[in-house]
């Protein structure tokens, strides 16, 4: 890990999409891009596992997609703008999909946003605890 990349590891609950992660997630993100074509969306929906097996992705990447575990997809090099093609296929908005990564029920997440969003307090630095 470069010193530039390492600094971001101090920020809680965040995986910055670095060149290293982009390499790791290349096939996962390419699979996501394929869902921009309607015919591919239909084939994916008809048999998700079979469609995923057409891609040279790791088993962990495939399972994360099947589970719609977006945090695990991020760990595997996914990036939100590519992953958006999956939740668009599922008919979900950014708000709905993003909330699943926080562990909050969608109603609670929506209420938090309406009351001004997540406060920065406690979310700036692991090292400084602020």
């Amino acid at each position: 890990m470069t010193s530039y990349t390492a600094k971001f590891e101090d920020i809680p609950g965040t995986r910055v999409f670095t060149a290293e992660r982009a390499k790791k997630g290349y096939e996962l993100n390419q699979f996501c891009m394929s869902l921009m074509k309607p015919e591919n969306r239909e084939r994916f929906k008809a048999n998700e596992r079979a469609y995923l097996d057409e891609w040279p992705m790791s088993e962990d990447q495939k399972q994360a997609v099947l589970d719609r575990d977006y945090n695990r997809m991020l760990d595997n090099g996914g990036n939100i703008y590519f992953l958006a093609k999956i939740f668009a296929t599922d008919g979900l908005s950014y708000l709905q999909a993003v909330s699943t990564m926080t562990g909050m029920p969608i109603d609670d997440y929506q209420k938090m946003m309406l009351s001004g969003g997540r406060s920065p307090e406690g979310w700036r630095s692991i090292k400084d605890g602020n």
Binding site: M33, Y81, A84, Y94, G117, R124
Partner: protein, 282 residues
């Protein structure tokens, strides 16, 4: 000669585009947000430039994992709205200004900004949502647009300082164009937001408001803010704010602030919008 006379910045949240396209702008959730753009829509009707240079980022629509371009200039005759997975937005095709784009490409590359040049480019919500916010739902957009796509998806994006310098170079290069054109420049994206991980939903009003103030009065100092501080204080997707510094660099040292609007939330995001006039172009 051509001149850059005014600039604006605005968030480009995809849900804003959906609210416009589906006729939901007067619903309770959206009305306060759209009301905040009424001043600008009136101003924009009275101040129609010949060309808008529109700084935005692509969201995995035209750029795939196969190619990451730091700065990519749209040189085509026109730019169709992209299909982002929900079908293309029902908005007019964006008409370019290839003669000025060619001039910019030549001038900026000789000025040592090594741009990628795009002769085919589908434009996504990053570019079309700002046009909708300012110009509403016309049959044709009232301006020609030169898109400048900036990578803010894969780290590292360009530094704020590089963005500011590119803006300054755009100002110089536009002034060397022979035709008498009125040019505006828009910076889009931001403000604080994070769309990933347990920290998603992050909003920082204090940072955002200080960013507005420094953008107007201390852009050179603001341009030195490291990426780490953007992520720490504005969220991982708040890094889009570096694009605003291109706009600011292109307006020259002194600006007059005409209008400012801030609203939380637009979906997951703090909506920020400011309109500036270049001080030497009254």
């Amino acid at each position: 000669m051509a001149r850059i006379t005014a600039g604006l910045t605005t968030s480009h949240i995809p849900a804003i585009g959906a609210a416009i396209d589906l006729g939901k702008t007067q619903e309770a959730y959206w009305k306060p947000l759209f009301d905040g753009y009424e001043w600008t829509k009136a101003w924009a009707r009275e101040n129609v430039p010949d060309v808008v240079i529109l700084i935005y980022n692509d969201h995995a629509s035209a750029f795939t994992p196969e190619l990451v371009a730091t700065f990519a200039l749209g040189c085509a005759d026109e730019f169709p709205p992209a299909d982002e997975g929900y079908g293309p937005r029902p908005v007019p095709v964006v008409k370019g200004r290839p003669d000025l784009a060619a001039h910019l490409a030549e001038g900026l590359i000789l000025d040592e900004f090594d741009l990628t040049l795009m002769y085919k480019l589908d434009v996504d919500h990053g570019l079309t949502v700002p046009l909708s916010l300012v110009y509403g739902q016309p049959e044709e957009w009232p301006v020609r647009v030169i898109p400048l796509a900036v990578n803010v998806v894969q780290y590292p994006p360009p530094t704020g300082h590089r963005c500011f310098m590119l803006g300054q170079a755009i100002r110089r290069t536009v002034q060397e164009f022979d035709e008498d054109l009125n040019v505006h420049i828009w910076g889009t994206g931001g403000m604080s937001h994070q769309l990933q991980g347990p920290r998603a939903g992050f909003i920082n009003k204090e940072f955002d408001n200080a960013f507005f103030d420094r953008l107007v009065k201390d852009p050179e100092g603001l341009a030195r803010l490291p990426h780490l501080e953007y992520v720490r204080e504005a969220g991982s997707e708040g890094i889009e704010l570096v694009m605003w510094l291109i706009m600011r660099g292109a307006l020259g040292p002194e600006v007059e602030e005409l209008y400012r609007f801030y609203h939380v939330p637009g979906s997951n995001t703090a909506v920020g919008h400011i309109v500036l006039r270049a001080a030497d172009t009254h």
